[in-house]
Amino acid sequence: MEITKLTVHELQEKLKAKELTITDITKAYVDNIEKHEKDVQAFITPITDEAIKNAENIQAKVDSGEIKGSLAGIPIGIKDNICTKGIKTTCASKMLENFVSPYNATIMEKIEAENMINLGKLNMDEFAMGASTEYSYFKKTRNPWNLNTVPGGSSGGSAAAVASNMVPWAIGSDTGGSIRQPSSFCGVVGLKPTYGLVSRYGLVAFASSLDQIGPITKDVTDAAILLNVISGHDEKDTTSVNKEKVDYNKALKGDVKGLKIGLPKEYFGEGINPEVKEKLNEAIETYKKLGATVEECSLNIADYALATYYIIACAEASSNLGRFDGIRYGYRTQNYESLKDIYRNSRSEGFGPEVKRRIILGTYVLSSGYYDAYYKKAQQVRTLVKKEFDKAFEKYDVLLTPTSPTVAFEIGTRSNNPLEMYLADICTVSVNIAGLPGISVPCGVDSKGMPIGMQLIGNKFAEETILNAAYTYEQEFKFREKYNPEFKKV
């Protein structure tokens, strides 16, 4: 039995049947990190020796009956923009290279309450700004399906670590596609929950009205299990929604008879790679075969959504990143005489080029003279986007699109052209603008063996609907039985 190939729900069964111990599992993952990390480069801060100690501790407490709970001893990886008490949280930036959070993010409290084992902090684009993880200050993560290609981004470390079996599952964050797009590129499942379902307390803010934390997993069942752990109201995040807890496991019925699926034709147009379209069409046929009704529809916002996203996200980022001034934490320049010098030189030396580009763009669209033309307009388009989705969800339960217009691209081919990099987000951003849930599920590979992802979008708080739709498809298609990353160096 290859332990690290198992999903979390399979690990749970083995633990329950006493076929495996918690220590066996953690050791297997630590061995796999040692085997693959040199090629994949997914971790900023791996936690291996301590993880084994933790595992032994937790095993002892489970044996003595002190700890109960079906997730005790399950390892996990965490994106490096989630605050972890006592462990570095760098946001893949020189600015926070040595930052150790004095407190835990709310989701870390929840994960620790389950006695899961943190295997480390995972690479990402600096401050989650990017679609390839190439904008990390520390390293470029590689896609385990082809080491010359990017894993996607910004949660590229999380997706690559799950795909290469270096962690059984991971936490990501998604502002414009940063969970779904890397999941698509790496052939894993990624869920961006409804805005407000998961507390953002302790997530280093990029664009506060768009950011959401979510799971990146090997399969849909694991996504439901991890969502059960991290969701829920939190007094520390005023935008988190106070609603009754749902058991997302119960949503996985394996039946989509009568489910109404809309295909927004704007997301199947010219910009979408033909091989991506072909696999999506096969998935659509599968849904029809399973008894869902599928119909073309229109979302007349696709043209505006990406521009609107970059205006709003950069505006919010320019404000959120104002806190990095070299005074209380973070990088401080050596080169200063006055307080103003500290601010300006620390920021100029501490932030990377893409972060500065977005701060400048955000400051520009908020500045006097341009506010009405860009920011105000974008906020109005945001209302339009919501209305268009509302209309669509009157008719359909789920909207189905590609997750990304292409498969993973080669390292270095887009990093010098920001606009081209932004186009990688074209299918995912409107979901964040409207605050909806979206899941990416693998639906095949292209002629070069690179994974293709399908995105299912649901109405607000309809996670159960999209999880069931994704699960039912997954049970039929069985992606993980057919395809596995080979760590190719082409």
């Binding site: 300006r344 932030f351 341009y370 033309a373 606009l419």
Partner: protein
């Protein structure tokens, strides 16, 4: 809209960023490209539509104003780039 060099420098100053000479030209090109692309929002049919402020409909979220003491000063101060005793150190501000 054409972005001038002076405008870019003004914006960078507002954002507390210095731009090196070689950065200015690249940022000008990139900013211009992105803004040309972003201009599409001016064509969106948004007459009479209100602006979305924040993602939820909730407006003010209140809670009791209770004092919670955070005692781990050491953990806070370990991130200080410069400190003296239990204080963050900065250059003299008042001349």
């Amino acid at each position: 809209m054409q972005v001038s060099r002076e405008e870019l420098l003004h914006i960078a100053k507002l954002a507390d960023l210095n731009l090196k000479e070689e950065e200015i030209d690249t940022y000008l090109i990139h900013l211009q490209d992105i803004l040309n692309f972003a201009n599409i929002v001016s064509k969106a049919p948004v007459e009479n539509l209100s602006e979305t402020i924040g993602e939820n409909d909730s407006y003010n979220v209140f809670r009791k104003d209770e004092v919670k003491v955070f005692e781990d000063n050491e953990a806070l101060l370990q991130n200080a780039p410069e400190k003296e005793r239990n204080m963050f150190k900065i250059p003299k501000v008042i001349q």
